[in-house]
Amino acid sequence: MFKELNPLLHSELRLAIMSILISVEEADFLFIKEKTGATGGNISVQLEKLSAAGYLKIEKGFLGKRTRTACRITSEGTDAFAEYVEAIKSYLEKKA
């Protein structure tokens, strides 16, 4: 039996965001935008979805005069990510 792939992570942009956050302590909205090349609106929507699932924490604040949105992955997010990678591995092993 295949492990089911988490639909929340099995989408290009959301997976990219989670991969970035798993490798850094904290990432700024602009950093995510730069690394993914996606539009700000699209990123906002996906961040909201991931945050609603408890996978990441969003902190809004000010840095000088600019607004700053910082995101960091939660332990639930890390677990979900690890499970997702395990599921992908089981798919690939099955295929091989």
Partner: protein
Amino acid sequence: MEDKILNEKESLELISKMIQNSQQKIKAGNGVTFLIFGYTTLLVSVVVYYLLKTTHNQLYNLVWLGIPVIGFTLLYLFRKDKPKYNKTYIDRVISNVWLVVGSGVFFVSFAAGFVRIPVLAVLILLLGIATTITGLVIKFKPVVIGGVLGMLSFILPFILLGYEQVLAYGICVFIMMVIPGHILNYKRGKKNV
């Protein structure tokens, strides 16, 4: 990048690409904190040395407070318009090392107002330890060497008696922070071009 569904292979490729991309190198400009505090310490120690030497009034030791005041103000001004996009684990390690050592520095300096302790020796040792750890974490030899020299120079205040140790302290901090700070900015700056 769109909100599209990937196959398993594409997923793995995307994960590894994103992880690689976000592991950025230590950026140029990281030597700035060293430079700000190194130059400020040198300047303040020269001023303290001059005042103590000419007046012999120990109250002028309060001028040391100029280091955190000037240092943090300059640091704030420098960073104000440069938002940091991401924070890595290395950033967290370094900032925590300096937070702990910085607290130690404040505690020792404060205590020195009440009890007789070889304050400059303790401070240079503490700062040397933090600088060495920073150098090891960012894997940059000149900072490690500067830090070790700093640690070793804790002996100077015991050898030099009188106000000269104040001047020696400023020079030691200069060698420990300013020289590696300039090398760091120069080398890492070139790599990022």
